[in-house]
Amino acid sequence: MNETHHLRRMTTIWVILSIAADLLGWFVLGPHMPPGRMTETAYHDQIDFNILLMVALPVVIGVWVYMGYAITVWSAKRAPDPVGGDAARGNTRTQVLWISITSVMTLAAAAFGTWALVVDHGSGGGEGPNPIWAPSGAAQAETAAFSPNSGWTPGQALPVQVIGQQWKFTYRYPTFGGFETSQLILPDNATIVFNVTSLDVIHSFWAYQLGVKADANPQVNDVAYTETKQLGSFMVRCSELCGIWHGAMYNSGQVVTPAAFQSWAQQTEAANAANTKLLPPFAWTYVPDANGANGGYYPDGKATPYSSVEVYGSKNPAS
């Protein structure tokens, strides 16, 4: 059997299997790929995943077909004696071809990833305090966050603050008087601006079906965007190890109709009014007292935070 025969056979098997796998992957598996299509970012993340899958499947199948072919056809029982020498030690054309193909593929993957990241406004990932790929309306939401009675109307972007603490996420709605609650309710068809921060250690806010993940760092406002597209409930989990109850740090949230959201927000604002008065004014980040209640780790009275940001809990500066 000559050389072209082997390669032709392998290529045939590879093409058939790859096409089959890609078709199955795109049409059967693809639409159900996590994280689903509840939001624009989730939808984009899903598409990106599927596109990478379309490239990855032929690569994996290619190697497997080759290896499978090799171990069946060229086993010691069947194969003729191999030929060593220079030809077997390296073949410039093969090497150049291999390097070129892998280089093109990886560069294309990086370019595609960058493009997807930019057009999808950070793809729902935490973009730090000064996002450079913000969707329209984000700037308006940032301003609105500091006018506590601005509420929300459909079409506007809604700012929501996510506060991680050991071991629960709580949520502040700055445009509704800045009330805080442990429920996460979002309106449908709206751009949501998540401002994620923490009061102690690092957490990670992972709203799975929304395609949003942003680390909650103390004293950092980690911003992530999404745009809701479907009604329904979604899961929030902490995805950064934060101590003993990390595994229990979850809650479910809901995307509801704009009207339902309005009424829920207004009701909760009213119901929590007594407590909201006791909260510090809304700020992007808060300075938790590193010591905890009644003294603690660092010597008290010597740390003097000349802080420009709001203090969560009045025990700061340390007494």
């Binding site: 990833g113 680390d215 760092n217």
Partner: protein, 646 residues
Amino acid sequence: MTISAERPVATSGGATTTTERVSWTQRPGIWSQHLGTAIVGAIVGYLLGHWLGNAIASSYPYIQNSGQNVIAVTLGEIFGVAGWLLGIGALNYPLAKMAGRQPGKEVDVQGWSKYFRYSTNHKTVGLQYVVGVLLFLFTGGLLAMAIRTELLNPTTHYFSADTYIKIVSEHGTVMMMMATSIVVGPLGNYLVPLMIGSRRMAFPRIEAFSFWVFTAGYMVIFSALPLGGFPTGWTGYAPLQTQAGPGMIGYLFGFAVIGMGMMAAGFNMAVTIINYRAPGMTWSRVPILVWSLLATSALLTLATPTLFAAGVFGLLDKTAQTAFYVNEHGGSAYLWQNLFWFFGHPEVYIMALPGFGIVGEILPVFTRKPLFAYKVGAAGMIGVALLSFFVWQHHLYQSGINPDMRPLFMLTTELISIPTGFIYLVGMGTLYKAKIRFEIPMLFALALYFNFLIGGVTGVFLSDVPVNVTVHGGFFVLSHFHYTIMGGLLFAFMGGLYYWLPKMTGRMLNKKIGLWHFWTMFVFFNLTFFPMFIIGLLGQPRRVFTYAKNLQGLNDFSSVSAFLLGFSFLIFAFNMVYSLWINPQKAPANPWDSRGLEWQTANPVPSYNFERIPVVLSDPYRYSEPGAPAVADLGDAGLVHAAPQD
């Protein structure tokens, strides 16, 4: 015990004969330095340090308040490790050196007791490392069994939440630290001098130091459990790290101690490879495993100091109350993430590259073909090593650190798959029109190609920022790195053991038991970890003790497979014991018909490796090439011809 305390040694020129003191570490009998004195030293040191810490710090307010004296624990650990090194004899020469003394001529004590001593013979150290890393591996594996037990049920808990986190953290830390040395330690130390035609390593004391510090690190990391464990996982993120109890010292100090071992091992390895190559062992003839170990050593020596520094800062935060990682006092929690991953990503390649090297050695032997694209393969390893310093922030895509840098890190990360792909080019090219013998080492090598492909391709998914949003911090990434480290490195290591243990011990490992081991390990490895990709995509974060009820089926499947995977390691352990001790079968001098220089010396390998320093004549991969020159001129033993052609 065949040597006496005083023995005649011929000095240069052979004219005068003087008597020279034999090092304390090499004296026969129990009145010398060995594991026993090391243990005594460690215990005394720990108690002394602990007492000192209590004397100094028990009145400090935060220590009184917390009811746990981290300073006493830290000093105890430091003194304990110092006592361990003092007891084993690691400090004998460094102290004698202060009086200007030269190292004494050291020979190994004969008999099994040499394995419990501060041996400077690279073959003894290599075998010590084999046992050491297997001990690491098995204890880490038991913890993995505990993790999978807890995850059998989303609501019924076998461990309490805090204990579960301790187990997870301990498992990750032990495994990661073990994996850094799993090839460099045992196979590297044993084989590199044989492969490059040297009679010794460049710095045998540093080599021995690396092993005994490695064992000390093992104990330090495990001391965390009785001290209350640490809750941070192997990544040890601050400020959770700063919040944790004294068990955290076991992590921070353990990392620092093992870091010293890693630096020492890499330093010695790199210097040896550069300087001790036999005449004729040009860079284009260096075996591919040696190339991979050189690249690994570069990472070990240059990346580990960062980890060491990060660990020292963490220790200072916990004991001296600095605030490196505490935002509220002027530090930054991001700092740890940056320092840790600046080490942490090269670390990942510290664990991948040696595996590539091993399969590169195994493939030509069992295909009877030269290694395809040898230079591209070597260049790929160096390329991976270099690039690995520029990718660390891909662990931090969602952290809010430098979000505008994400495209750059996405690019560098995906670029790394180009040199990694070279390894596949090498493998697939070598298999082309080969004559494959399915011996156990070859099966493991092929399994690496299967597993690492999955691990590598999922790595591309992880490096893509939009996809990373869903898969970061979940079981997907967990499965990904188990596929690369366990599916890659550990399979390669197992293949390497089956391949080289006949050389190292003079005994063949039983093939029938080996086949059982391979197939159970390969099948159950994949059945354990492949479902975890799906579990991760369905939204299960890492390190949780409870999960969504609908994922129980997949988790149980994974757990049961994991138990069977654990069982396959028992088969392996049994094979080791059976073949090496219960029913030993003498190995032929060159059981696999390899051309490798390491197979050309006598069996068992004499303590001086080569009768004459060999003159290397060609690279070791010229199989199936009639008229290929012998691999080396071994001097008195005459020209050793190429391995028999089949």
